[in-house]
Protein backbone atom coordinates (compact mmCIF):
# COMPACT_ATOMS: atom_id res chain seq x y z
CA UNK A 1 0.00 0.00 0.00
CA UNK A 2 1.44 3.40 -0.90
CA UNK A 3 1.78 5.92 1.83
CA UNK A 4 -1.15 8.34 2.01
CA UNK A 5 -0.26 12.00 2.07
CA UNK A 6 -1.47 14.81 4.30
CA UNK A 7 -2.34 18.01 2.50
CA UNK A 8 -2.46 21.38 4.19
CA UNK A 9 -3.61 24.43 2.29
CA UNK A 10 -3.21 27.64 4.26
CA UNK A 11 -4.51 31.04 3.21
CA UNK A 12 -4.12 30.32 -0.46
CA UNK A 13 -4.64 33.31 -2.72
CA UNK A 14 -4.19 33.44 -6.45
CA UNK A 15 -4.90 36.07 -9.03
CA UNK A 16 -4.38 36.47 -12.75
CA UNK A 17 -3.54 39.66 -14.58
CA UNK A 18 -6.08 40.18 -17.29
CA UNK A 19 -5.48 43.29 -19.41
CA UNK A 20 -3.74 45.07 -16.61
CA UNK A 21 -6.43 44.33 -14.04
CA UNK A 22 -6.00 41.76 -11.32
CA UNK A 23 -8.58 38.95 -11.49
CA UNK A 24 -8.78 37.14 -8.17
CA UNK A 25 -9.29 33.43 -8.78
CA UNK A 26 -8.81 32.00 -5.29
CA UNK A 27 -9.53 33.93 -2.12
CA UNK A 28 -8.05 32.79 1.15
CA UNK A 29 -8.54 29.07 0.73
CA UNK A 30 -7.65 26.99 3.76
CA UNK A 31 -8.20 23.25 3.88
CA UNK A 32 -6.66 20.31 5.72
CA UNK A 33 -6.89 16.90 4.17
CA UNK A 34 -6.15 13.86 6.29
CA UNK A 35 -4.15 10.94 4.93
CA UNK A 36 -6.34 8.46 3.10
CA UNK A 37 -9.24 10.88 2.96
CA UNK A 38 -11.36 11.37 -0.17
CA UNK A 39 -12.25 15.02 -0.67
CA UNK A 40 -14.74 16.13 -3.30
CA UNK A 41 -14.68 19.73 -4.42
CA UNK A 42 -17.87 20.94 -6.04
CA UNK A 43 -18.65 24.23 -7.60
CA UNK A 44 -20.02 25.76 -10.74
CA UNK A 45 -17.76 27.00 -13.55
CA UNK A 46 -15.37 29.73 -12.64
CA UNK A 47 -15.11 28.99 -8.94
CA UNK A 48 -11.42 28.19 -9.22
CA UNK A 49 -11.67 24.50 -8.37
CA UNK A 50 -9.58 23.41 -11.36
CA UNK A 51 -7.03 26.13 -10.60
CA UNK A 52 -6.81 24.80 -7.06
CA UNK A 53 -6.14 21.32 -8.36
CA UNK A 54 -3.53 22.55 -10.81
CA UNK A 55 -1.76 24.35 -7.97
CA UNK A 56 -1.82 21.10 -6.00
CA UNK A 57 -0.30 19.10 -8.85
CA UNK A 58 2.30 21.80 -9.44
CA UNK A 59 1.36 22.74 -13.00
CA UNK A 60 0.64 26.27 -11.87
CA UNK A 61 2.42 28.43 -9.39
CA UNK A 62 2.56 32.09 -8.52
CA UNK A 63 0.33 32.00 -5.47
CA UNK A 64 0.31 33.47 -1.98
CA UNK A 65 -0.09 31.26 1.02
CA UNK A 66 1.04 27.71 1.60
CA UNK A 67 0.44 24.35 0.02
CA UNK A 68 2.01 21.57 2.06
CA UNK A 69 2.30 17.87 1.47
CA UNK A 70 3.29 16.03 4.65
CA UNK A 71 4.41 19.34 6.06
CA UNK A 72 6.70 20.22 3.15
CA UNK A 73 6.03 22.96 0.63
CA UNK A 74 5.35 21.52 -2.77
CA UNK A 75 7.71 22.52 -5.57
CA UNK A 76 6.40 22.02 -9.07
CA UNK A 77 5.33 18.58 -10.19
CA UNK A 78 6.47 15.40 -8.51
CA UNK A 79 5.83 11.69 -8.61
CA UNK A 80 4.33 12.06 -5.10
CA UNK A 81 1.21 13.50 -6.62
CA UNK A 82 -0.69 11.92 -9.48
CA UNK A 83 -3.42 13.46 -11.61
CA UNK A 84 -6.21 12.33 -13.91
CA UNK A 85 -7.41 15.02 -16.30
CA UNK A 86 -10.80 15.35 -17.94
CA UNK A 87 -9.29 14.23 -21.26
CA UNK A 88 -7.38 10.98 -20.93
CA UNK A 89 -4.26 12.49 -22.52
CA UNK A 90 -2.81 9.10 -23.36
CA UNK A 91 0.04 9.03 -25.88
CA UNK A 92 -1.59 7.58 -29.00
CA UNK A 93 1.63 5.98 -30.25
CA UNK A 94 2.00 3.85 -27.12
CA UNK A 95 0.14 0.72 -26.11
CA UNK A 96 -1.87 0.57 -22.91
CA UNK A 97 1.00 -0.95 -20.94
CA UNK A 98 3.51 1.52 -22.39
CA UNK A 99 1.22 4.41 -21.47
CA UNK A 100 0.87 3.15 -17.92
CA UNK A 101 4.63 2.60 -17.86
CA UNK A 102 5.13 6.33 -18.52
CA UNK A 103 4.25 6.94 -14.91
CA UNK A 104 7.35 4.97 -13.92
CA UNK A 105 9.73 6.40 -16.49
CA UNK A 106 11.52 8.55 -13.96
CA UNK A 107 10.79 6.47 -10.89
CA UNK A 108 13.48 4.48 -9.09
CA UNK A 109 13.47 0.69 -9.21
CA UNK A 110 14.31 -2.21 -11.47
CA UNK A 111 12.62 -2.72 -14.82
CA UNK A 112 11.20 -6.01 -13.58
CA UNK A 113 9.57 -4.33 -10.57
CA UNK A 114 8.19 -1.61 -12.81
CA UNK A 115 6.75 -4.12 -15.28
CA UNK A 116 5.08 -5.91 -12.41
CA UNK A 117 3.56 -2.70 -11.09
CA UNK A 118 2.27 -1.87 -14.58
CA UNK A 119 0.57 -5.24 -14.92
CA UNK A 120 -0.91 -4.97 -11.42
CA UNK A 121 -2.38 -1.58 -12.11
CA UNK A 122 -3.80 -2.63 -15.45
CA UNK A 123 -5.62 -5.40 -13.60
CA UNK A 124 -6.66 -3.00 -10.85
CA UNK A 125 -8.54 -0.81 -13.31
CA UNK A 126 -10.13 -3.85 -14.92
CA UNK A 127 -8.30 -3.81 -18.24
CA UNK A 128 -6.52 -7.13 -18.11
CA UNK A 129 -6.14 -8.42 -21.65
CA UNK A 130 -5.85 -4.96 -23.19
CA UNK A 131 -2.16 -4.43 -22.45
CA UNK A 132 -1.10 -4.32 -26.09
CA UNK A 133 -4.03 -2.28 -27.40
CA UNK A 134 -3.53 1.20 -28.78
CA UNK A 135 -5.65 4.10 -27.48
CA UNK A 136 -7.54 4.37 -30.77
CA UNK A 137 -8.88 0.90 -30.09
CA UNK A 138 -10.28 1.84 -26.68
CA UNK A 139 -13.57 3.45 -25.69
CA UNK A 140 -13.65 6.71 -23.71
CA UNK A 141 -14.26 4.89 -20.45
CA UNK A 142 -11.44 2.44 -21.05
CA UNK A 143 -9.03 5.22 -21.96
CA UNK A 144 -9.87 7.02 -18.74
CA UNK A 145 -9.18 3.83 -16.80
CA UNK A 146 -5.75 3.66 -18.41
CA UNK A 147 -5.23 7.26 -17.32
CA UNK A 148 -6.14 6.28 -13.77
CA UNK A 149 -3.73 3.33 -13.88
CA UNK A 150 -1.01 5.64 -15.17
CA UNK A 151 -1.65 8.08 -12.34
CA UNK A 152 -1.46 5.36 -9.70
CA UNK A 153 1.32 3.16 -11.04
CA UNK A 154 4.12 4.97 -9.24
CA UNK A 155 2.16 4.79 -6.00
CA UNK A 156 1.79 8.50 -5.30
CA UNK A 157 0.68 9.80 -1.93
CA UNK A 158 -2.10 11.83 -3.43
CA UNK A 159 -4.39 11.29 -6.41
CA UNK A 160 -5.91 14.40 -7.94
CA UNK A 161 -8.83 14.11 -10.33
CA UNK A 162 -9.99 17.05 -12.44
CA UNK A 163 -13.53 16.29 -13.62
CA UNK A 164 -12.29 12.87 -14.73
CA UNK A 165 -15.64 11.64 -15.99
CA UNK A 166 -16.92 14.89 -17.46
CA UNK A 167 -16.29 13.81 -21.03
CA UNK A 168 -18.04 10.46 -20.71
CA UNK A 169 -21.64 9.45 -21.20
CA UNK A 170 -23.87 9.14 -18.14
CA UNK A 171 -23.87 5.35 -18.00
CA UNK A 172 -20.10 5.07 -18.24
CA UNK A 173 -19.77 7.86 -15.71
CA UNK A 174 -21.81 5.99 -13.12
CA UNK A 175 -19.83 2.82 -13.69
CA UNK A 176 -16.50 4.56 -13.42
CA UNK A 177 -17.55 6.31 -10.22
CA UNK A 178 -18.07 2.86 -8.72
CA UNK A 179 -14.74 1.70 -10.14
CA UNK A 180 -12.92 4.70 -8.74
CA UNK A 181 -14.52 4.03 -5.37
CA UNK A 182 -13.22 0.47 -5.43
CA UNK A 183 -9.76 1.43 -6.69
CA UNK A 184 -9.35 4.15 -4.09
CA UNK A 185 -10.27 1.76 -1.29
CA UNK A 186 -7.81 -0.80 -2.66
CA UNK A 187 -4.96 1.71 -2.89
CA UNK A 188 -5.75 3.60 0.31
CA UNK A 189 -4.30 6.92 -0.83
CA UNK A 190 -5.51 10.46 -0.31
CA UNK A 191 -7.74 11.64 -3.13
CA UNK A 192 -9.01 15.04 -4.21
CA UNK A 193 -11.76 15.08 -6.81
CA UNK A 194 -12.99 18.19 -8.58
CA UNK A 195 -16.41 17.91 -10.14
CA UNK A 196 -19.49 19.87 -11.02
CA UNK A 197 -21.64 16.82 -10.39
CA UNK A 198 -23.04 16.98 -6.85
CA UNK A 199 -24.15 13.36 -6.79
CA UNK A 200 -20.68 12.23 -7.84
CA UNK A 201 -19.15 14.39 -5.12
CA UNK A 202 -21.38 12.92 -2.41
CA UNK A 203 -21.04 9.38 -3.73
CA UNK A 204 -17.25 9.46 -3.56
CA UNK A 205 -16.22 11.95 -0.90
CA UNK A 206 -15.68 11.70 2.84
CA UNK A 207 -16.22 15.41 2.83
CA UNK A 208 -17.65 17.70 0.17
CA UNK A 209 -16.07 21.13 -0.17
CA UNK A 210 -18.52 23.55 -1.75
CA UNK A 211 -16.86 26.43 -3.56
CA UNK A 212 -18.44 29.65 -4.71
CA UNK A 213 -17.17 31.64 -7.71
CA UNK A 214 -15.83 35.12 -8.32
CA UNK A 215 -13.59 35.02 -6.41
CA UNK A 216 -13.23 31.35 -5.59
CA UNK A 217 -13.92 30.74 -1.91
CA UNK A 218 -14.86 27.81 0.24
CA UNK A 219 -18.51 28.31 0.99
CA UNK A 220 -19.04 25.28 3.18
CA UNK A 221 -17.70 21.82 3.92
CA UNK A 222 -20.26 19.05 4.23
CA UNK A 223 -19.44 15.77 5.96
CA UNK A 224 -20.53 12.53 4.36
CA UNK A 225 -20.43 9.99 7.18
CA UNK A 226 -21.93 7.18 5.14
CA UNK A 227 -20.57 3.65 4.79
CA UNK A 228 -19.32 2.50 1.39
CA UNK A 229 -20.37 1.48 -1.15
CA UNK A 230 -23.09 4.10 -1.01
CA UNK A 231 -26.64 3.77 -2.20
CA UNK A 232 -27.60 6.74 -4.38
CA UNK A 233 -31.29 6.38 -3.62
CA UNK A 234 -31.05 5.81 0.13
CA UNK A 235 -32.71 8.52 2.22
CA UNK A 236 -29.54 9.53 4.04
CA UNK A 237 -27.62 9.87 0.77
CA UNK A 238 -30.35 11.98 -0.80
CA UNK A 239 -30.55 14.16 2.29
CA UNK A 240 -26.86 14.99 2.13
CA UNK A 241 -27.05 15.54 -1.62
CA UNK A 242 -29.94 17.94 -1.10
CA UNK A 243 -28.00 19.66 1.61
CA UNK A 244 -25.12 20.29 -0.77
CA UNK A 245 -27.45 21.31 -3.59
CA UNK A 246 -29.12 23.83 -1.30
CA UNK A 247 -25.82 25.70 -1.30
CA UNK A 248 -26.51 26.41 -4.94
CA UNK A 249 -30.10 27.45 -4.33
CA UNK A 250 -29.39 30.91 -5.62
CA UNK A 251 -28.54 29.23 -8.89
CA UNK A 252 -31.08 26.42 -8.99
CA UNK A 253 -34.55 26.24 -7.61
CA UNK A 254 -34.44 23.10 -5.56
CA UNK A 255 -36.58 22.35 -2.60
CA UNK A 256 -34.56 21.24 0.37
CA UNK A 257 -35.47 18.17 2.41
CA UNK A 258 -36.83 20.45 5.13
CA UNK A 259 -39.09 22.26 2.70
CA UNK A 260 -40.33 18.97 1.29
CA UNK A 261 -41.10 17.62 4.75
CA UNK A 262 -43.01 20.80 5.47
CA UNK A 263 -45.06 20.41 2.33
CA UNK A 264 -45.66 16.74 3.02
CA UNK A 265 -46.79 17.55 6.55
CA UNK A 266 -49.03 20.33 5.29
CA UNK A 267 -50.64 17.91 2.85
CA UNK A 268 -51.05 15.21 5.48
CA UNK A 269 -52.57 17.60 7.95
Amino acid sequence: MPQAGTIDIKNLNKQYDVKGKALKVLDNISLSIKPGEFISIVGSSGCGKSTLLRLLIGLESGYEGEILLDGQRIQGTSLDRGIVFQEHRLFPWLTVEQNVGLGLLNAPGTQAAKDKSVQEHISLVGLKGFEKAYPYQLSGGMSQRVAIARALVNRPEVLLLDEPFGALDALTRTRLQQELQRIWQAEGITAVLVTHDVEEAVYLGDRVVVMQPRPGRIQRIVDVPLARPRDRVAADFVAIKDDVLSEFSHEINHATVAERLERANALAA
Binding site: L59, G76, G82, R89, T95, L102, G103
Partner: protein
Protein backbone atom coordinates in the same frame (compact mmCIF):
# COMPACT_ATOMS: atom_id res chain seq x y z
CA UNK B 1 -7.71 -4.70 -41.37
CA UNK B 2 -6.90 -3.72 -44.92
CA UNK B 3 -3.58 -5.55 -44.99
CA UNK B 4 -4.25 -7.50 -48.17
CA UNK B 5 -1.31 -9.20 -49.83
CA UNK B 6 -3.23 -9.88 -53.06
CA UNK B 7 -1.95 -7.93 -56.03
CA UNK B 8 -4.28 -5.33 -57.50
CA UNK B 9 -4.24 -5.95 -61.24
CA UNK B 10 -5.96 -2.66 -62.00
CA UNK B 11 -2.62 -0.89 -61.58
CA UNK B 12 -1.34 -2.65 -64.66
CA UNK B 13 -4.15 -1.60 -67.00
CA UNK B 14 -2.65 1.73 -68.06
CA UNK B 15 0.91 0.45 -68.63
CA UNK B 16 -0.30 -2.56 -70.60
CA UNK B 17 -2.63 -0.42 -72.69
CA UNK B 18 0.18 2.00 -73.31
CA UNK B 19 2.61 -0.71 -74.43
CA UNK B 20 -0.06 -2.21 -76.66
CA UNK B 21 -0.66 1.15 -78.30
CA UNK B 22 3.09 1.73 -78.61
CA UNK B 23 3.54 -1.65 -80.28
CA UNK B 24 0.67 -1.01 -82.66
CA UNK B 25 1.93 2.42 -83.65
CA UNK B 26 5.45 1.22 -84.37
CA UNK B 27 4.62 -2.00 -86.16
CA UNK B 28 2.12 -0.19 -88.37
CA UNK B 29 4.80 2.46 -89.03
CA UNK B 30 2.44 5.23 -88.04
CA UNK B 31 5.32 7.04 -86.39
CA UNK B 32 8.97 7.69 -87.15
CA UNK B 33 10.49 4.50 -85.81
CA UNK B 34 13.89 6.12 -85.54
CA UNK B 35 12.51 8.35 -82.79
CA UNK B 36 9.69 6.28 -81.38
CA UNK B 37 11.44 2.96 -81.33
CA UNK B 38 9.53 -0.30 -81.19
CA UNK B 39 9.13 -1.99 -77.81
CA UNK B 40 11.06 -4.96 -79.07
CA UNK B 41 14.10 -2.76 -79.65
CA UNK B 42 13.96 -1.54 -76.08
CA UNK B 43 13.73 -5.09 -74.83
CA UNK B 44 16.77 -6.16 -76.83
CA UNK B 45 18.84 -3.19 -75.69
CA UNK B 46 17.63 -3.70 -72.16
CA UNK B 47 18.61 -7.34 -72.22
CA UNK B 48 22.11 -6.41 -73.37
CA UNK B 49 22.44 -3.89 -70.57
CA UNK B 50 21.24 -6.28 -67.92
CA UNK B 51 23.89 -8.76 -69.01
CA UNK B 52 26.57 -6.16 -68.50
CA UNK B 53 28.11 -5.95 -65.06
CA UNK B 54 28.64 -2.24 -65.48
CA UNK B 55 24.91 -1.71 -65.45
CA UNK B 56 24.63 -3.13 -61.98
CA UNK B 57 27.64 -1.16 -60.82
CA UNK B 58 25.94 1.92 -62.20
CA UNK B 59 22.72 1.20 -60.38
CA UNK B 60 24.60 0.54 -57.17
CA UNK B 61 26.45 3.81 -57.53
CA UNK B 62 23.24 5.74 -58.13
CA UNK B 63 21.68 4.09 -55.13
CA UNK B 64 24.67 4.86 -52.97
CA UNK B 65 24.57 8.54 -53.94
CA UNK B 66 20.84 8.67 -53.45
CA UNK B 67 20.76 7.02 -50.06
CA UNK B 68 23.73 8.93 -48.67
CA UNK B 69 22.34 12.22 -49.85
CA UNK B 70 18.90 11.32 -48.62
CA UNK B 71 20.16 10.23 -45.21
CA UNK B 72 22.15 13.43 -44.73
CA UNK B 73 19.31 15.62 -45.96
CA UNK B 74 16.64 13.83 -43.94
CA UNK B 75 18.59 13.82 -40.68
CA UNK B 76 19.54 17.45 -41.11
CA UNK B 77 15.93 18.17 -41.99
CA UNK B 78 14.56 16.57 -38.83
CA UNK B 79 17.18 18.36 -36.73
CA UNK B 80 16.53 21.79 -38.21
CA UNK B 81 12.77 21.30 -38.33
CA UNK B 82 12.71 20.28 -34.67
CA UNK B 83 14.94 23.20 -33.70
CA UNK B 84 12.80 25.78 -35.46
CA UNK B 85 9.60 24.16 -34.25
CA UNK B 86 10.59 23.92 -30.62
CA UNK B 87 12.63 27.06 -30.06
CA UNK B 88 11.13 30.49 -30.60
CA UNK B 89 14.58 31.96 -30.81
CA UNK B 90 15.72 29.50 -33.45
CA UNK B 91 12.56 30.21 -35.41
CA UNK B 92 13.28 33.94 -35.41
CA UNK B 93 16.94 33.42 -36.27
CA UNK B 94 16.82 30.65 -38.84
CA UNK B 95 13.24 30.74 -40.09
CA UNK B 96 13.37 33.68 -42.49
CA UNK B 97 16.61 32.50 -44.10
CA UNK B 98 15.27 29.00 -44.48
CA UNK B 99 11.97 30.04 -46.01
CA UNK B 100 13.67 32.35 -48.45
CA UNK B 101 16.30 29.83 -49.51
CA UNK B 102 13.55 27.31 -50.04
CA UNK B 103 12.11 29.44 -52.81
CA UNK B 104 15.27 29.13 -54.88
CA UNK B 105 15.01 26.32 -57.38
CA UNK B 106 17.44 23.59 -56.48
CA UNK B 107 18.87 23.51 -59.95
CA UNK B 108 19.92 27.13 -59.59
CA UNK B 109 22.38 25.94 -56.95
CA UNK B 110 24.21 23.67 -59.36
CA UNK B 111 26.57 26.21 -60.93
CA UNK B 112 27.67 27.31 -57.46
CA UNK B 113 28.02 23.74 -56.27
CA UNK B 114 30.08 22.66 -59.24
CA UNK B 115 32.27 25.75 -58.95
CA UNK B 116 32.96 24.95 -55.28
CA UNK B 117 33.02 21.17 -55.32
CA UNK B 118 33.48 20.16 -58.91
CA UNK B 119 31.33 17.47 -60.43
CA UNK B 120 32.35 14.54 -58.30
CA UNK B 121 30.31 12.48 -55.91
CA UNK B 122 30.62 15.08 -53.18
CA UNK B 123 28.77 17.69 -55.18
CA UNK B 124 26.12 15.17 -56.22
CA UNK B 125 25.50 13.97 -52.69
CA UNK B 126 25.20 17.55 -51.39
CA UNK B 127 22.73 18.37 -54.14
CA UNK B 128 20.69 15.27 -53.31
CA UNK B 129 20.83 16.09 -49.60
CA UNK B 130 19.49 19.57 -50.34
CA UNK B 131 16.56 18.20 -52.26
CA UNK B 132 15.55 15.90 -49.40
CA UNK B 133 16.20 18.55 -46.78
CA UNK B 134 13.38 21.00 -47.50
CA UNK B 135 10.36 18.71 -47.45
CA UNK B 136 11.65 16.97 -44.32
CA UNK B 137 12.06 20.31 -42.51
CA UNK B 138 8.56 21.35 -43.45
CA UNK B 139 7.04 18.06 -42.38
CA UNK B 140 8.95 18.06 -39.11
CA UNK B 141 8.01 21.66 -38.42
CA UNK B 142 4.34 20.94 -38.88
CA UNK B 143 4.51 17.84 -36.72
CA UNK B 144 6.48 19.41 -33.91
CA UNK B 145 4.17 22.39 -33.73
CA UNK B 146 1.21 20.03 -33.45
CA UNK B 147 2.22 18.59 -30.07
CA UNK B 148 -0.70 19.33 -27.75
CA UNK B 149 -0.45 21.30 -24.53
CA UNK B 150 -2.27 18.48 -22.77
CA UNK B 151 0.47 16.00 -23.59
CA UNK B 152 3.13 18.52 -22.68
CA UNK B 153 1.55 18.78 -19.22
CA UNK B 154 1.58 15.01 -18.85
CA UNK B 155 5.31 15.15 -19.57
CA UNK B 156 5.72 17.75 -16.83
CA UNK B 157 3.73 15.71 -14.34
CA UNK B 158 5.96 12.68 -14.89
CA UNK B 159 9.15 14.71 -14.66
CA UNK B 160 10.39 14.31 -18.24
CA UNK B 161 13.83 15.80 -18.76
CA UNK B 162 14.69 17.63 -21.98
CA UNK B 163 15.87 14.52 -23.82
CA UNK B 164 12.75 12.62 -22.82
CA UNK B 165 10.51 15.45 -23.96
CA UNK B 166 12.25 15.37 -27.34
CA UNK B 167 12.50 11.63 -27.92
CA UNK B 168 9.48 10.36 -26.02
CA UNK B 169 6.99 13.09 -26.75
CA UNK B 170 7.83 15.55 -29.51
CA UNK B 171 9.32 13.26 -32.15
CA UNK B 172 6.81 10.41 -31.74
CA UNK B 173 3.92 12.88 -31.71
CA UNK B 174 5.27 14.50 -34.86
CA UNK B 175 6.10 11.21 -36.57
CA UNK B 176 3.15 11.15 -38.99
CA UNK B 177 4.07 14.54 -40.39
CA UNK B 178 7.80 13.82 -40.26
CA UNK B 179 7.29 10.61 -42.21
CA UNK B 180 5.16 12.47 -44.71
CA UNK B 181 8.01 14.87 -45.27
CA UNK B 182 10.49 12.01 -45.42
CA UNK B 183 8.42 10.25 -48.09
CA UNK B 184 8.48 13.40 -50.17
CA UNK B 185 12.18 13.82 -49.49
CA UNK B 186 12.79 10.29 -50.73
CA UNK B 187 11.07 11.05 -54.01
CA UNK B 188 12.90 14.33 -54.48
CA UNK B 189 16.20 12.68 -53.61
CA UNK B 190 15.78 10.11 -56.36
CA UNK B 191 14.81 12.81 -58.85
CA UNK B 192 17.83 14.82 -57.78
CA UNK B 193 20.10 11.79 -58.11
CA UNK B 194 19.25 11.37 -61.77
CA UNK B 195 19.37 15.12 -62.26
CA UNK B 196 22.79 15.30 -60.64
CA UNK B 197 24.10 12.52 -62.85
CA UNK B 198 22.85 14.43 -65.88
CA UNK B 199 24.13 17.81 -64.91
CA UNK B 200 27.25 17.06 -62.90
CA UNK B 201 28.75 14.58 -65.31
CA UNK B 202 32.17 13.31 -64.52
CA UNK B 203 32.81 9.61 -64.47
CA UNK B 204 29.85 8.55 -66.58
CA UNK B 205 28.65 6.01 -64.09
CA UNK B 206 25.18 5.60 -62.70
CA UNK B 207 21.65 5.07 -63.86
CA UNK B 208 21.21 8.65 -64.99
CA UNK B 209 24.37 8.34 -67.04
CA UNK B 210 22.89 5.45 -68.99
CA UNK B 211 20.19 7.79 -70.23
CA UNK B 212 22.80 10.44 -70.82
CA UNK B 213 24.93 8.05 -72.88
CA UNK B 214 21.87 7.02 -74.82
CA UNK B 215 21.16 10.64 -75.68
CA UNK B 216 24.74 11.23 -76.80
CA UNK B 217 24.77 8.11 -78.97
CA UNK B 218 21.26 8.84 -80.22
CA UNK B 219 20.36 5.41 -78.92
CA UNK B 220 16.68 5.93 -78.13
CA UNK B 221 16.29 2.34 -77.02
CA UNK B 222 18.87 2.97 -74.34
CA UNK B 223 17.13 6.16 -73.26
CA UNK B 224 13.82 4.41 -72.89
CA UNK B 225 15.37 1.47 -71.07
CA UNK B 226 17.14 3.87 -68.74
CA UNK B 227 13.87 5.65 -67.98
CA UNK B 228 12.17 2.36 -67.24
CA UNK B 229 14.94 1.32 -64.89
CA UNK B 230 14.82 4.68 -63.10
CA UNK B 231 11.08 4.44 -62.73
CA UNK B 232 11.32 0.89 -61.44
CA UNK B 233 13.84 1.78 -58.76
CA UNK B 234 11.65 4.67 -57.68
CA UNK B 235 8.70 2.31 -57.49
CA UNK B 236 10.61 -0.14 -55.29
CA UNK B 237 11.61 2.69 -52.94
CA UNK B 238 8.01 3.75 -52.74
CA UNK B 239 6.82 0.29 -51.77
CA UNK B 240 9.48 -0.11 -49.10
CA UNK B 241 8.69 3.35 -47.75
CA UNK B 242 4.97 2.60 -47.64
CA UNK B 243 5.55 -0.61 -45.71
CA UNK B 244 7.90 1.10 -43.28
CA UNK B 245 5.49 3.95 -42.74
CA UNK B 246 2.56 1.58 -42.16
CA UNK B 247 4.54 -0.21 -39.51
CA UNK B 248 5.79 2.93 -37.78
CA UNK B 249 2.34 4.46 -37.77
CA UNK B 250 0.43 1.34 -36.81
CA UNK B 251 -0.95 3.17 -33.77
CA UNK B 252 -3.10 5.39 -35.95
CA UNK B 253 -6.75 4.59 -36.46
CA UNK B 254 -7.25 3.13 -39.94
CA UNK B 255 -8.53 5.53 -42.59
CA UNK B 256 -12.33 5.48 -42.90
Amino acid sequence: MSDKQTFDWRGLVLPVAFVALWYALTSLHLVNTKLIVPPAGVLITGWKELADLNFYLGVALSLWRDLSGFAIGALAGVAVGTLIGVSRLADKLIGPTFHTARQISLFAWLPLLSALLGTGDGAKVIFIAFSAFYPVVLGTLEGVRGVTAGHAEVARVYGFNRAQVLFKLVLPAASPQILSGVRLGLIYAWLATIGAEFLLVNDGQGLGNIVFKGRNAFNVELIVFGLLAIGLVGNVFNRIATRAEAHLLRWRPPAP
